[in-house]
């Protein structure tokens, strides 16, 4: 079984200015990799480059292999086939990640129907409805029959993110890219969504690329981490290694900050 995603010496430039340089990482099936860094460190750009969706005006060099196929330099037509089968993405803000004018059930059904078409399966209307209900149950959305008829603005933040995860799952991807999926949620909902992601990745044997700036969240969600700073990799290793014995001054600072926060919380309690 090959790597789902292999990034080798990826650099991204915009108007001659380097935004990301020399990033290398790989995710295999069942593996959970965290990409840590502050805002503007190039985490999300790296993820966008991985699926060939960099904003206009940015150029990528190096190598990105998605399910064994090179993405950089490939025609969009060739990459579209990979998207939605090899990889699916969950975004930070579920309110903008869902179409405001479409009922949740219809949005999930759209993805399920497309995936079925690609597999050459024909799916009846009842089959689509059954799959939508199953997916909504899978992400623990209560009362699928009622919520599938709801618009995004009628749902809570946690429910929206669960719906977005259900849409990603409808792709049956082998790799899930989660770009700060819990940042917009409150702490208890965060914990639930993290647990859900963890369960899904384990049970479906997917790869997970988890992007966040939040150390405790990353620590709970992944096995290995890559630390980015100003577009460069500064550290890489298992969660225990990097968080336990950080070597790079930047990582030390990050871990120290998280510890200090924990201590402050502890003292207050």
């Amino acid at each position: 079984m090959g790597d789902l995603l292999t990034i080798d010496d990826l650099s991204i430039r915009h108007a001659g200015r380097p935004l990301v340089s020399g990033v290398s990482l790989s995710v295999t099936a069942g593996e959970r990799l965290g990409l840590i860094g502050e805002s503007g460190s190039g985490k999300s750009l790296t993820a966008l480059a991985a699926i060939g969706l960099l904003p206009e005006g940015m150029t990528a060099s190096g190598s990105v292999r998605l399910a064994g196929r090179e993405v950089i330099g490939a025609a969009d037509r060739d990459v579209v086939g990979l998207r939605g089968t090899a990889v699916a993405t969950i975004f930070q803000e579920p309110l903008t990640a869902l179409d405001p004018l479409m009922r949740i059930g219809d949005q999930i059904a759209e993805v399920a129907r497309r995936r079925a078409r690609r597999d050459g399966r024909s799916l009846s209307r009842a089959g689509v409805a059954a799959e939508v209900t199953a997916l909504m149950a899978r992400v623990a959305l209560p009362d699928p029959a009622r919520l599938s008829r709801a618009y995004p603005h009628e749902m809570s933040g946690g429910q929206r993110q669960r719906a977005a995860i259900a849409m990603a799952l409808a792709c049956r991807p082998r790799l899930l890219i989660a770009d700060e999926p819990t940042t917009a949620l409150d702490v208890t909902t965060q914990a639930e969504v993290l647990k859900l992601l963890e369960t899904l990745v384990r049970e479906e044997n997917m790869g997970l690329l988890f992007i966040s700036h939040d150390l405790p969240v990353v620590g709970a969600a992944v096995d290995r981490v890559v630390v980015l700073r100003a577009g460069e990799m500064v550290e890489e290793g298992t969660v225990a290694e990097v968080f336990g014995r950080p070597r790079h001054p930047y990582t030390i600072g990050l871990v120290e900050a998280a510890r200090a926060f924990d201590r402050a919380i502890g003292a207050a309690l």
Partner: protein, 283 residues
Amino acid sequence: MTDAAPALAPPASRRLTPAFLVGAALVGLHVAVGLLTLVWTPYDPAAMTGGRLAPPSLLHWAGTDRLGRDLFTEIMIGARIALAVGSGAVAIAAAIGVTVGLLAAFASRAVDDVLAATLDILIAFPTLLLAMLIVAAGDGANLGTAILAIGIAASAIVARLTRILARRVLAMDYITAARVSGTSWLGIVRIHVLPNIWPTLIVNFALQFGLAVIAEASLSYLGLGAPPPNASWGRLLQEAQATVYTAPFGAIAPGIALVSLVIGLNLFADGLRDVADPTRRRR
């Protein structure tokens, strides 16, 4: 019943404001009258049925024109012409404008810049002047040319609006999510972009409809609209101009018809958004 999910609001009580209802009633009245003229009019519109320039009476509700034809009959037929021109022009403006706007929104920056600049130049041209040029370039004044001219002139504004609205939708995460899950460009337009820009577009179409009605009246007033057998409000106003001091009713009645339709369309447009956009249905 027991889960912690926020209760869905009770079934949509669409917010129908009085202004919207008044607008819908005015538009509905004109549509009904316009349709009625297809099967029945009080008098033969071309027949001389009374004295010349007779003031309004029970027999001739709006009086008669300088040839003794019944003005009320002509105004009723004018409603049909105004509505035909309005819907035809809006359909043309929508077809051209939405297509060009979407192309610009999806195009690369260079193509988009060229299209945007072209649209800005077209918009800088007064609509009526543009329509007059198109009528002049065509094979003389008739109803079809007038519809085409007004539609083309209005399409630039629709195109620019569509481009801006579509750009805003395309910047949203759900578009990226759709692209990540492998949706084609056409799929994105059909599933996400059009439904999301529709509520704003439909309001603009209703406003453009009103503007088209005025534009048609203006063209007819200038003799560039439907030729004489057709009773356009603009032509009625133009004919009444010569006798406005001796028979002012000849200008007042078509004027009321024109103003009431345009006001109705504008009121209707204001309320339409609340009906078209599900996120605005309950507050």
